[in-house]
Structure formats: structure tokens, C-alpha cells
Symmetry: C2
């Protein structure tokens, strides 16, 4: 398989696949013309990466997970711990964003949004908080 095929089958952009080779996540062979040649195994790795990335795992954690995937003597507790740490980070991000959303939507509700210049949003940003 050439890179275009694995791109379609893994769902990863061609550029991303080259980048993943650069950082040592996959190691496709090369044919005589210099084209990358992917075996099923490499395609499988790329699909693994696509899925793990879509769950928000960082590249470095993906590298670890790939290692655990290949290591048949792993303990599932190791994987679960990594996943739990990541879940916590996701939850932290969500609550940060929810705080932003609450503050912002409150300001938006207060703002008339008409042709006049008076704007509680700018007043808040400017620190004229008198309440």
C-alpha cells in the first residue's frame, strides 16, 4: 500500500502519516522508487493512533499505549491507570470551559446588542465591576 491508500483507510491525512514516521511511531518500508510501502500491520498501527488521538491522548501517551498493545504480558491495570489520568485531564478541561461558558453567556445575556455603545461585556473586561 502507498501512503494515499493508508491515508484513506486509516482516516489520517497523508501529511500526518509522514509526520508519524518522522517521530518514530510507524516505520514503513520503502520501495525502489522511494515511495513508502505499508504492510497491514502499519496500517493497523495508524488506525490505532487515529482512534487514540480522537480520544484526546497525547502523542507520547499514544506511543506508550502502542507499546502496551504490542506487549502481551502487560497488565490491564497499567492501561486503566493511563486512561483514568487522561479522563481526569479531560474533565478538568471541561470544567474550565464550562466556567468560561457560564461567565460569557451571562455577559451576553446582559448585553443589549443594539446600535448603542453601552456594553456590559466590555465593561466586564475593562474591570468596571461594581456590584
Amino acid at each position: 500500500m502507498n501512503i494515499g491508500d493508508v491515508s484513506i483507510r486509516s482516516g489520517l491525512p497523508v501529511k500526518t502519516i509522514r509526520y508519524y514516521e518522522d517521530i518514530g511511531l510507524v516505520s514503513p518500508l520503502r520501495s525502489e522508487n522511494g515511495y513508502r510501502t505499508f504492510q497491514e500491520k502499519e496500517l493497523h498501527k495508524l488506525s490505532f493512533l487515529a482512534r487514540a488521538r480522537s480520544l484526546g491522548f497525547t502523542i507520547e501517551v499514544c506511543r506508550t499505549l502502542l507499546g502496551l498493545y504490542d506487549d502481551h504480558s502487560r497488565e490491564s491495570s497499567d492501561v486503566k491507570r493511563i486512561a483514568n489520568e487522561h479522563l481526569e485531564q479531560i474533565e478538568t478541561k471541561i470544567s474550565g470551559l464550562e466556567t468560561m461558558r457560564a461567565a460569557l453567556s451571562h455577559l451576553i445575556d446582559e448585553c443589549a446588542g443594539d446600535h448603542r455603545p453601552d456594553c456590559p461585556i466590555l465593561e466586564d473586561l475593562g474591570g468596571i465591576s461594581e456590584h
Copy 2:
């Protein structure tokens, strides 16, 4: 005021303030020894930026908002539109993260997390989805 004072009073790291000067968000004067000298107005701008950034506005949007803040003939509808666009982006991010959280916590629940190698998390990433 020197940069350290405005750092404390605005809540922004010294490095960030220098960076904001670099990209033209603030323009402090310089005293004879080369130190940046901040007027109240510049401090006020930096506090505005700190607050806007904490609400997740990008630097470029902050630049626009600062312009609107200074423009007393602005219309509040312009500000509200920008805020609403940003709110939508926040909500998109939140729902993306919530999708991740759901998928991930489902997998974590399925995983025994013991000394055995069997792990639904890795099975999912590996694409052995047979259900």
C-alpha cells in the same frame, strides 16, 4: 511602574507582558535605563487582556475587543456578535470533550484493571470492535 509591578497588578507573567508588547498589544514607554515604564492606562489594557484571555478569546480577538473598547462610537451589537461566536466555539469544544469523556469512561468501566493482560481499552483502540 516597572514590569514586575504591572505583572503583579494585572496577574500576567512578566514574560507574557513582554510578549504582548512584541505583538503590539501594549506600548509602554522606556525610562533612561531601558526599563519599560507603564502608565495606568497600559496596566488597564493588560488587565483587560488578562480577563479576556481567561474567557478564552484569542489574541487576535482580544486586539479587536481592545479596539472596540477604545472606540466610544462602537455598537454593542458588534461586541455581542464576537462574544456569541466565541461562545459557540466554546460549546463546540465542550461537546467534543464530552464525547471523548463518554467514550473513555465507558471503556474504563469495562476494563478490569488487574494483573491480567485482557483490556477492552486496547481492544477498542486496536479496532477489534465486534458488537
